[in-house]
């Protein structure tokens, strides 16, 4: 059993599994969003957690300094994801029945006094937050390791957990993409959301059905790309950033032979059986063309599809092109992951001479 879980946890398998699970949960959110589902899930998850904890290697990685917050993050994300789906399921059913969202009920539109209604809620939050922080602080000591030693790097050297998704991306992208361009685009993309999404529905109440594209897109980026990668980076990456299953001992001598090939090597050496051209642009031509097609030709092609037409009709050309470009750049990450696993593809465009690898 543990062997099996170790085997499944490898991103090659766990990423597709997680994506499919994500897809099922989102598609059947009305079933997932029921209280019954939540109870059944909890009833399975709690014993499973204790069983996991009984394993010394798993226990070690969970209680590793600064990994406790991630456990809290996972639990709260599970809860709040379920909770929003629950709220959405209720409202969507009501909207279908012509009743309108719960938030629009007359008793919810009614104005109430700030004192005591809101002030007491806030007071409760403050007290609960204080108690939580103090208890946490008493139970768990803040980590402190050996004094800083610039000449001896620990292995693995990990960034703080909230950046581990980015560090995990380094497996698939060079630092200029994983550490600078992609996070920069995440920030820009987030700020752009209100200006791209012109759907007037779902403003001020929970609903999934009335804004499917926005919610699918956001949830995929947030749960599958951001949170999943953080979990992998935290719990499943050991020395040399090698994969270790959750029950696996971090053996420093584990060697994983990995031989990745650039697209240009595929083209010239494997397929055309010649040597690599000396001219850089010539050498990387195929990759450059593919990248250009992906960024410049795919958007107009999608624009002609039903999906594209619908968006353009609703929000116009400019919004459509910004949206689809951001979406394609986001999807370049899972695409590169899959290419790596299927073909051991390293770079689509490999120009180390210019520090420009894609």
């Amino acid at each position: 059993m543990k062997e099996l879980i170790n085997w499944v946890a490898d991103p090659i398998r766990s990423f597709p599994i997680f994506s499919i699970l994500f897809f099922i949960v989102m598609k059947y959110y009305r079933i997932v969003g029921t209280k019954k589902f939540a109870w059944i899930f909890t009833a399975i998850a709690i014993p499973a957690f204790f069983w996991f904890m009984s394993d010394p290697n798993f226990f070690l990685i969970i209680t590793f300094p600064d990994n406790i917050p991630i456990s809290i993050l996972i639990v709260s994300i599970l809860f709040f994801t379920w909770f929003t789906l629950h709220k959405c399921a209720i409202n969507d059913q009501r909207i279908e029945d012509g009743l309108g969202p719960v938030e629009a009920l007359p008793e919810n539109r009614e104005k109430v006094w700030c004192w005591p209604n809101l002030v007491y809620t806030e007071l409760f939050t403050i007290i609960a937050g204080t108690v939580f922080l103090i208890v946490w602080a008493i139970i768990f000591k803040a980590p402190l390791e050996e004094p800083a030693n610039p000449t001896w790097a620990p292995n693995p050297a990990k960034a703080p957990w909230y950046f581990l998704g980015l560090q995990e991306m380094l497996v698939y992208f060079d630092p200029w993409m994983a550490g600078v361009v992609l996070p920069g685009l995440v920030v820009v993309g987030l700020i752009a959301i209100p200006y791209i999404d012109t759907n007037p529905k779902g403003n001020g109440y929970f609903t999934f059905k009335e804004r499917p594209i926005a919610i699918w897109g956001f949830m995929f980026g947030w749960l599958v790309l951001w949170i999943y990668l953080i979990i992998v980076g935290t719990f499943l990456r050991g020395p040399n950033w090698t994969f270790y299953g959750p029950f696996e001992y971090w053996d420093f001598h584990k060697v994983v032979a990995e031989y990745n090939v650039n697209l240009s090597e595929f083209l010239w050496v494997k397929w055309l059986n010649t040597s690599m051209p000396a001219n850089l642009i010539m050498r990387e031509m195929l990759g450059i063309i593919i990248t250009a097609l992906y960024v410049f030709v795919l958007p107009p092609l999608i624009a002609a599809s039903d999906f594209g037409k619908k968006i353009i009709e609703k929000s116009g050309q400019i919004r459509y092109y910004i949206f689809i470009t951001l979406l394609l750049i986001m999807m370049s990450l899972p695409i590169k992951m899959v290419l790596r696993w299927l073909f051991s593809l390293k770079y689509i465009v490999a120009l180390p001479e210019w520090e420009l690898n894609l």
């Binding site: 993050l73 005591p116 002030v119 909230y162 109440y205």
Partner: protein, 260 residues
Amino acid sequence: MAEKGLADKVRETQIWKSIFRHGPPDNARNRAAVVAGNVFLHLHPIKLKKSGVKLGYTWCMGGLTFFIFLALTVTGVLLMFYYRPTAEYAFNDIIALREHVPLGIMREIHRWGAHAMVITVWLHMFRVFMTGSYKPPREFNWGVGVILLVLTLLLSFTGYLLPWDQLAIWAIAVGSNMAKATPFLGHGGPGAMLAQIGDFVMVSDKNDVRFQLLAGRFVGEPALLRFYILHCVFIPLVVGVLIAVHFWRVRKDGGISAPL
């Protein structure tokens, strides 16, 4: 007439009346006065829609984030009394905090609180997204929020270095190494070699973005001072100002979002 209770007697003293200028909030007039007359409470509207008060709607996540920010400010100031940002003292001061300072859980609260704040900001954003609260007229405030999110991560990141242990410097080394790959601005990034005139290299490891961030080519004492000032003074000030803008806009954009 019934005997007056102790609470009523206290309310009639000159001291009490000088602080709270209104009677108990059990009627409309006084309830308005409580909220409007208090500098902290007057951030709130006097009356608001029931849906916006419900925990199931806001999760009070923004409020919780703000509370943790305040708690971090208080514990952070306490920590500053004991901590000196130099390579010689930093680590030992942290040990002292643990071993010699009475009731020494301030560092724990500060550290776990910092992690908690990252989590609550994310969840707050998630809630705001799911209720579509970024839609007009709240587009701008969503943008302010995204900047707050980035600054929260940077606050946490700069604080990570201060204990000056192995965990700290190597986490920052990994993080800041990414900066050297910035296109055009980092010496290891694409485009940097274009900025070269003859033998003169414009972007090198002695002046690129990573150098500016660390005040050096590696995580050393100058980086510690730089991170300390960013962490204790600069970023908190900016966050404080932006939170004020954020709250002001929540009010000006019509309060907590609700169906139109």
